[in-house]
């Protein structure tokens, strides 16, 4: 080393040492301890060879199991580890974090060739916990069966699975002991996994055909003899059940435990609701809009503290940009469409899902909004209040020895390696396996906020140590009152996460319930504090191939007083305990119990009756098969699905409100006339003849002032079609003899909104985009009306974005109507009306650029002036936007082929990356294949590195600062922007309407949207809300309505025989009319 270099090196060392001294090791919430330090020398070492590896057995890397439970009733949870190929181990907890290996003496080391999950439960109800170990038997020469170790009460066990009928030899994953038939003893659900090749999806119905090896089993306990009742109980058992996740919970709070099964690959997850008669009804599609694609472990916890159990289901979406872009992602648009529409499967997307249990029984999926969607190759999720702040936190274990979905491996590396060594096409040698990148990554810990949202605390709480961790158990290992964790790792000793919390309070509950169920499995506890509720259920066989300590743990922050604790026993009796002891472990036995009355759903405060059928007003919109992504492969959402159009007004001069519905391309529009308090379909040949137009907006008014209302229909569709003529907006002039079409415009663009001023003197025609040229500007117009129809006198406006909606309203309170114009990739624009001349207002409008969908006038702060509510994309999305880091979209001819494309880009750790991966981008921009000949070269590259600064500079740039829906608050004519609360951000809001309730104006909001590629998922989780004020909102489920899984496009109030009704119009669904119960006080 030369002198100057040496000096430099010393200098650097000095600097480095200094900063290291300053930093000090931070005190972490969890001290991570390698198990060998506390006497645990277990290690799940995988022995790979040419005949047994990931190629021969698809779940070769799923790891062993871990069970934490007290086997000698000394109050300290002991630890049992199952090893895939080695001996299982049992460690007695001797206190002070010392463990004694009693495996050999205990006789639990096992005889199966391949062990998987393990659970602890008192199977025979003798007051001592027994151990059940799952095995995979019958493939790859694996021998053995599931083993049941019955505790002899002296730290020894006798394998007795045969005696109990539980010596099942199948492809076991894990099991859960619980009392499904409410007869007092513990039954068991055994989760098995398929090994069936998933090369062909097969149809969904094959789950009905039982396969004893792969099918799950529900085993009923008949006096110690477990009998397979799966078929009679309605449990699926087909070839397709890649069962990896299992959670038991009384999801619908009817007092009977239900089952959620997470299935890997294309098989749907199963949601079994307990019917109470020994049977279950699988109800996934009704209550879950979508699920994870590669479902792994799942877990239950009441994360938003509403007393209803919520659910997380894990998947394998990486957070890290480089890993993300070099891994296989979601299905293509077409594959998902085929799997759902033709093959009968449900919607599945490759990311974690957080299902918040709503009071209508449906689950609102909010993983993206709550920040826990991407935790890489994840196995186990466990909820627990780790920091004692009164909110459930979340631990997720993850990691895989080799990433088999690495795109370079899939497309390039594997083949070349295989070709060098191949003997036949089914054998792959060790070297090829080694070319997959490692997937050792730090586990995740999230701090819960009590409202369903989480903050990533992995680094702060655990120090981010990379590992390959699977099965995880939670409990108080050191007896200090807080929750510790232990993970079973692959090819490494287990890790203990010892919780160092000592500030706040805790409460640990144990139960002594009955002879057959001594530890009270299935008991619920509701802890009421001043402002909050904490809810727990005791189902310790949970997590991934694991089971946890059989106790309920609550964290209670300082200065929080506990009002009461309500215990609900498995037999549906309950007891209330006032001011329970703090910082203690309390054992509760049934005492002074009273019957518990389950409240299945919250009481509906109001009930709006669905009168669609009675009124004969039902319009089924049928979206055609066109997909924008076939043509414009990079646009962020579809443009062809903006219908239907709807307009309310008198169409036959009888002063009653009639309804016009405009159809999708290929579907004729329909008119319904109001007659005698109901509706009649009226066939108008002129209007129905224009069925090839895609109607997206319509307005009824007497344009030519002849005493008959006319109809103006805005058309869009954005498609390749024989003639662009079908994009022209239609003007139909009313008369005593029906409608006559009058040509009035030559413009052929995607119109989004036609709307008339209330006096009818102006019509605004708002245009979204040019057909097949998303990103190019198009003009919109204010057109004057006159006796001759729509005049040539029109004022043209250009905006920097794509208009979606416009609202006539006297914004400046000068007595005439102005225009509020909103749209995507733009900030709201106000056109001031100055005696019929409209001018863009340059100030006084906040420059909040969004993906605005809808606008409505509503005095949200009840101060007498008009505020404006705006529906946006929502926050439950992979898109993100802030003022500091807006969402970007570039529009230019990237590949110089004469057609411009759009590329969306977002920020991650301060840099901007393309939203989509190389496969998606190169579908349109083929030159990228040549620029990046491997995925490694592409992954982690910024926008500039991918496209070049010059191209980006040249491009037209759009941006979005916020995706939140919210409102422009009017304070003395000045507008300020405010976002709605989180409940209103779970999906795009596409429609508002206001209505009167108890003489106060209320606002109704609806939304949801499905026109995106599977990468984005499906925005199906917004049930709709009634917004009362800036702070107050309530789900419309309280009114008996639910927009869950439907895409609302219009909410309109309509008067039918002097009564107010709500008309709800959906895309690709049948419309509904509700009678407001204001009408029947």
């Amino acid at each position: 080393m030369g002198k100057p270099l040496l000096l430099l090196w010393i200098g650097l060392m000095l600097i480095a040492c200094e900063s290291a001294q300053e930093e000090k090791t931070p005190v972490r919430l969890f001290e991570t301890i390698e198990a060998t330090q506390v006497g645990i020398h277990f290690k799940n070492q995988l022995k790979e060879d040419d005949s047994l590896n990931i190629l021969d057995y698809l779940y070769f890397y799923n790891g062993g199991g871990v069970a934490m439970g007290d086997i000698n009733n000394d109050g300290l949870p002991d630890l049992f580890f199952s090893s895939n190929q080695g001996a299982n181990k049992l460690y007695l907890n001797k206190g002070d974090l010392t463990f004694e290996d009693i495996s050999e003496k205990a006789g639990i080391e096992g005889n199966s060739s391949w062990n998987t999950g393990t659970v602890i439960a008192d199977v025979n109800g003798d007051g001592f916990n027994d151990i059940y170990v799952l095995a995979v038997v019958g493939i790859n020469g694996f021998q053995g069966h599931n083993e049941l170790y019955i505790n002899q009460g002296d730290n020894t066990f006798i394998e007795s699975s045969k005696d109990y009928g539980l010596d099942i030899a199948a492809y076991g994953t894990t099991a859960s002991f619980f009392d499904y038939d409410l007869d007092g003893d513990l039954d068991v659900y055994i989760l098995n996994h398929a090994v069936h090749t998933q090369e062909s999806f097969g149809r969904a119905h094959i789950r009905n055909r039982r396969n004893p090896m792969t099918g799950d089993r529900l085993m009923q306990n008949n006096n110690g003899n477990f009998v397979d009742v799966s078929e009679a109980a309605g449990i699926y058992g087909g070839d397709n059940g890649y069962g990896l996740g299992l959670s038991i919970s009384d999801f619908n709070q009817d007092g009977m435990p239900d089952i959620y099964v997470g299935n890997d690959f294309h098989e749907d997850d199963y949601y079994y609701l307990n019917n109470g008669d020994g049977t279950f009804t699988e109800s996934l599609k009704e209550y879950f809009g979508h699920t994870s694609r590669f479902s792994m472990g799942n877990a239950v916890g009441d994360v938003n503290q509403d007393g209803r159990p919520d659910l997380i289901s894990l998947d394998m979406l990486p957070e890290d940009e480089t890993v993300l872009k070099s891994s296989e992602g979601d299905d293509t648009y077409h594959t998902l469409k085929m799997r759902t529409e033709q093959f009968g499967y449900h919607f599945q997307y490759a990311r974690n899902m957080l299902f918040l249990n709503s009071n209508s029984g449906t689950f609102s999926e909010q993983a993206l909004q709550t920040g826990i969607a991407a935790t890489d190759w994840s196995w186990s999720a466990l909820f627990g209040d780790f920091d004692h702040d009164g909110h459930e936190d979340l631990f997720i274990s993850n990691g895989i020895p080799k990433r088999p979905n690495d795109l370079d491996f899939v497309r390039f590396v594997s083949n070349e390696q295989i070709q060098k060594t191949i003997r036949n096409s089914r054998l792959m040698d060790q070297k090829a396996l080694e070319m997959m990148p490692s997937g050792a990554v730090p586990n995740y810990v999230f701090q819960g906020n009590g409202n369903g949202t989480f903050v990533d605390k992995s680094a702060e709480w655990t120090g981010n140590i990379p590992s390959i961790s699977g099965a995880t158990a939670v409990g108080d290992l050191d007896g200090d009152g807080d929750l510790d964790l232990v993970t079973n790792n692959i090819n490494a000793a287990p890790t203990l996460y010892i919780n160092q919390t000592d500030k706040e309070h805790y409460l640990k509950l144990r139960f002594q319930f009955s002879d057959a169920n001594p530890f009270g499995i299935g008991t619920k506890a509701f802890l009421y504090t001043e402002h909050e509720l904490q809810y727990r259920e005791l189902f310790p066989n949970k997590g991934w191939q694991a089971s946890s300590e059989a106790m309920l743990h609550f964290g209670i922050p300082k200065n929080t007083s506990v009002d009461s604790l309500v215990i609900v026993w498995p037999d549906q009796t309950s007891q209330r305990i006032l001011t329970p002891k703090m910082d203690a472990t309390v054992t509760i036995t049934p005492k002074n119990t009273v019957p518990w009355n389950p409240t299945r759903t919250h009481q509906k405060r109001k009930h709006w009756n669905d009168v669609s059928e009675a009124l004969g007003l039902q319009y089924t919109h049928q979206e055609d098969n066109y997909s924008d992504f076939n043509v414009q492969k990079l646009i962020p959402y579809q443009i062809s699905d903006r219908g239907p159009a709807v307009a309310i007004g008198d169409l036959n001069n009888d002063q009653l409100e009639d309804v016009f519905f405009g159809g999708a391309a290929g579907q004729p529009a329909r008119i319904y006339l109001q007659k005698n308090g109901a509706f009649e379909y009226y066939h108008d040949p002129v209007i129905e003849a224009d069925s090839l137009y895609e109607n997206v907006s319509a307005v009824i008014l007497d344009i030519n002032q002849d005493g008959f209302n006319d109809l103006l229909v805005g058309n869009g569709g954005n498609r390749i079609q024989p003639s662009l003529q079908f994009l022209k907006d239609g003007l139909y002039l009313g008369s005593a003899n029906g409608f006559q079409k009058q040509p009035w415009t030559e413009e052929m663009v995607n119109t989004s909104i036609v709307t008339a001023s209330s006096k009818g003197d102006f019509v605004f025609v708002g245009n979204h985009s040019k057909p097949l040229d998303f990103g190019n500007s198009t003009a919109s117009y204010v057109v004057s009306t006159s006796k001759s129809g729509l005049t040539q006198h029109r004022q043209e406006f250009m905006v920097d974005g794509m208009i979606t909606d416009a609202l006539w309203s006297d914004i400046d309170a000068d007595g005439d109507e102005d225009l509020l114009i909103i749209g995507e990739w733009m900030a709201p624009v106000i056109l001031d009306n100055n005696n019929g001349t409209f001018q863009k207002r340059s100030n006084g409008v906040p420059k909040v650029s969004g993906l605005w969908q809808t606008a409505e006038a509503f005095d949200i702060d009840h101060d007498g002036d008009t505020d404006y509510v705006l529906g946006n994309w929502g926050l439950n999305s992979k898109l993100k936007a802030t003022n500091e880091y807006p969402l970007h979209m570039y529009y230019t001819d990237f590949d110089a082929n004469g057609i411009s494309e759009t590329v969306v880009s977002l920020e991650k750790n301060g840099a901007y990356y393309p939203l989509l991966g190389l496969n998606e981008l190169a579908e349109q921009l083929v030159y990228l294949r040549k620029k990046f000949v491997s995925y490694t070269e592409f992954a982690g590259k910024t926008m500039e590195e991918v496209f070049g600064a010059e191209a980006l500079e040249k491009a037209k740039q759009f941006q979005v600062n916020t995706l939140a829906s919210g409102y422009l608050r009017n304070d003395q004519g000045c507008f300020s922007w405010h976002a709605f609360p989180a409940e209103l951000q779970v999906a795009p809001i596409k429609a508002f309407t206001s209505f009167s309730e108890e003489n106060t104006n209320q606002l109704l909001a609806g939304g949801n949207y499905f026109g995106v590629i599977p990468f984005h998922g499906r925005f199906d989780s917004f049930s709709g809300s009634v917004i009362r004020s800036e702070k107050e909102q309530e789900s419309v489920t309280a009114y008996g309505l639910d927009f869950y899984q439907k895409s609302v496009r219009h909410l309109k109030m309509i008067t039918i025989t002097n009564k107010t009704h709500l008309l709800v119009v959906y895309n690709n669904e049948t419309s509904q009319v509700y009678e407001l119960d204001e009408n029947n006080p």
Binding site: E199, S200, T332, E341, S425, A432, V631, V933
Partner: protein, 442 residues
Amino acid sequence: MNWMKTTLSLLIVMLAAASCQKKEPIVITPDDFRNSVDQVTDIMVHDIFSPPVASRIYSYPNIAAYEIVAQGDSTYQSLAGQINGLTAIPAPENKNLNYPVAAMVAHMNLSQSLIFSEDRMQHFSDSLYQKWSQQNEEEFTTAKAYGLKVANHIRAWMNDDLYKETRTMSKFTVDTDDPARWQPTPPAYMDGIEPHWMKIRPFVLDSSNQLQPIPPPEFSLEKDSQFYKELLEVYEVSQGITEAGDTSEEIGIAQFWDCNPYVSVTRGHLMFATKKITPGAHWIGITEIATEQAETDFNATVHAYTKTSMAIFDGFISCWDEKYRSNLIRPETLINLYIDENWKPILQTPPFPEYTSGHSVVSGAASTVLTGIFGDDFAFDDDTELPFGIPIRSFPSFNKAADEAALSRLYGGIHYRAAIDEGLKQGRSLGTLINETITMKN
């Protein structure tokens, strides 16, 4: 300027004289050309190109090389004016040119711009350039300049063939309502590839539908319909072969002619691809064997490759035109739905409609052209698939090889009989058309 010209000419003469004294001419062998084509084949396997795109990557570089050959050897006739849109390449300024070197340069240069992994082609050409410039720098420099000039001429013509435009045209929309129409197939359920390939400008055909085959048997699931009989034949033949076992002749034939550039394999979360050459590449391989066996000289070698690759190129256009017209469902989809849910074809079903069989069309066209050059009694041992672990097969003639290639699709379980028979006819008509209308050798 006159003085300058004179001085320059003098200088050139002097230089030429000087170099002539020291340097021998660069000798290019037929193997050099074959190696260059082989290099392109290897890179294509790595980069993954669909069969139609692969046919394009072979043909334009070959034509560029051939046009240079025709410049330097009057026994060969230029294709300019004979094939759609091709104009005469610029004549060399100096007739005293090493044409084979120029032909090689043009071939490598065009190939490089057509594949993805440019580095690999660059590496290959750099090592040759280095060798040649050491052997005879001046001769090389002149030939290289000319080769690049011709490559540019061909490139300009190539760029007008609508390939680039078709890259960004719409994806294929699957018709899910009509049970007779094509559906994506396991395991990757890929979109139908190259739905606009019929829009590409052919070389010899006047339009993509010039040789339109008769329609396939009418779709029907009635037991006595022709269509259903052919569907059942695929299933029964496949079951028979499977019973006979992996060593059966039929499985050997199916695998030998598989020629699927991207077979995706899924084992749980583990995915990988086994990649092979395309049907076109197999016939390019046979051309290589034929030229070796016949010991053709450099020019004749280039001629054989060029004509064969043109036949393959037009074959895919003609075939794809029919595929997306008839848009017929694959046997795998129907068998899984109506006959045997667990049935898997011996070969993986490629991602495009069934009728006609691409391999049959291409084999018919290529074999007819090769027969025209080398005769119908040209027996050969086909070792093209050896690098993929598949043993040699021997054929008495190109036509017999084509018959087997076509039939392999039935054994493989990916085509009905009609697609094979009509595909072969379609290909042979194309081959005959080329033989009859294109004059290459005087």
